[in-house]
Amino acid sequence: MAADPILLPGDYLDPKVLPSHPSKALKLGPGLLHIPPNSIVSTVAGRLCTDNKKNAVWVEYNSGRYIPVVDDLVIATIHHSATDFYYASISDYSSNAILPNLSFEGASRKSRPQLAPGALVYARITLANKHMDLELECVSASTGKSDGLGPLTGGMVFSVSLAMARRLMLPKPGEQGQLVLLEELGAAGASFEIAVGRNGRVWVDSKSVKSTLAIGNMIQRTDQEGWMVEKQRIMAKRMAKEIS
């Protein structure tokens, strides 16, 4: 396999690197823009990735600013409450999002959730566009069940880069994202609960404050220091011994 090309914003794609498929049309993922009629240009700096089975091509990049997209799962911090909804903060650099009072499991006009400013919720984005304020929900609109969404009690939230949040949320973080840290920690006996928000936040809860801090710190260091699989294994084993 040829080396993955690194792209800069404005680079035109060489047609040779594009995958081909007998029946499916080429699908452009994040980071690429189609300029009619024939050129594809990268809009971000990152590594080009291709998937021959799905006939898809996209750019893996680490941007600093989270751009909300409908159906993304995020960790939001309640800022203040209004008559019918809460204002929740997704990121420091954007305005508050709206979380309706009735968008929680089992909420009705008589029983509303009691969330104080500073509380954390795991929510899904329902409305995201550049013209209007962001809207969230903590319940699945069709089924009425929360599916793990809702207030996050206890624990602590840590910030990670957006690329790290994406790696943590992959279906197979080990092979697709070179991330084995959490698996190794679990295998070595540490017990903890985490929730990952695509806006670059990870919530960790564990038996003691020490283990919560240790696990959160390890996730941040994997991200910032760029630990590869081997180093993640070694550090995970060492940490698990210290916590338990």
Binding site: P36, I98, L127, N129, H131, M132, D133, E135
Partner: protein, 215 residues
């Protein structure tokens, strides 16, 4: 030859409230009729009422004399010059068709700036509001503002209420009302495809809008 038109200034006493009926541009204060705006005074005299009907068996009383209605006319230019005179000031009224540009959208309403009333282009912009239940005539609860309007669209609407201090209330709940001009996210002018779609000819992307039926 022609009777001189008398011009009233705001606050000018026009008569007693018992002598006249107040029309547009006037108001009553302490049972006297005053002018509210600057303009020529016009009196409309109602048709003369019939005298008491004479019948052999009954005498019906005469209808009380209806007083004249005094009003101040709007929109009359005070100078007759073609270009130098002030433009006629036309105000949007209930049931008048207006053209407006969408300035902001929110989940429950769209704010617009009214630019044209009827056939007259306005000097200033009046603020209008299109509530989410006034966007369509059917399935009003399923309307999403984001799929009906976007900032920058030109919309044909009808005034349903003179509203409050800040906004007129408009409605697009008719086939002939809605977005008449829209630009795509890429910046190109779009063509209408159906009652709910506009299409960008360059990129081929469709966008949702509440489309007005083209004539």
């Amino acid at each position: 030859m022609a009777a001189p038109i008398s011009i009233a200034v705001p606050g000018q006493l026009l008569g007693q409230a018992s002598d006249f009926l107040p029309g547009s541009g006037t108001h009553i204060h302490n049972s006297k009729l005053y002018a509210s705006i600057l303009g020529p005074i016009s009196k409309t005299i109602p048709p003369k009422s019939q005298g008491p009907q004479k019948r052999l068996t009954k005498i019906t009383p005469a209808e009380p004399a209806r007083p004249a209605t005094v009003s101040i006319e709007r929109g009359i230019s005070l100078t007759s010059a073609k270009d130098g005179g002030k433009k006629a000031e036309v105000l949007p009224d209930v049931n008048s068709t207006v053209l407006c540009k969408v300035t902001r959208i929110a989940p429950k309403q769209a704010s617009v700036a009214i630019l044209v009333v009827g056939e007259t282009v306005l000097d200033g912009e009046w603020q209008g509001l299109i509530r989410v239940q006034d966007v369509r005539a059917t399935e009003k609860d399923k309307v999403k503002i984001f799929e009906s309007f976007k900032p920058g669209d030109i919309v044909r609407a009808v005034v349903i209420s003179l509203g409050d201090q800040s906004n007129y209330y408009l409605s697009t709940a008719s086939n002939s009302l809605g977005v008449i001009m829209a630009a795509s996210e890429a910046g190109n002018a779009m063509y209408p495809v159906s009652w709910k779609e506009y299409k960008d000819p360059e990129t081929g992307v469709s966008e949702s809008r509440k489309v007005a039926k083209p004539f």
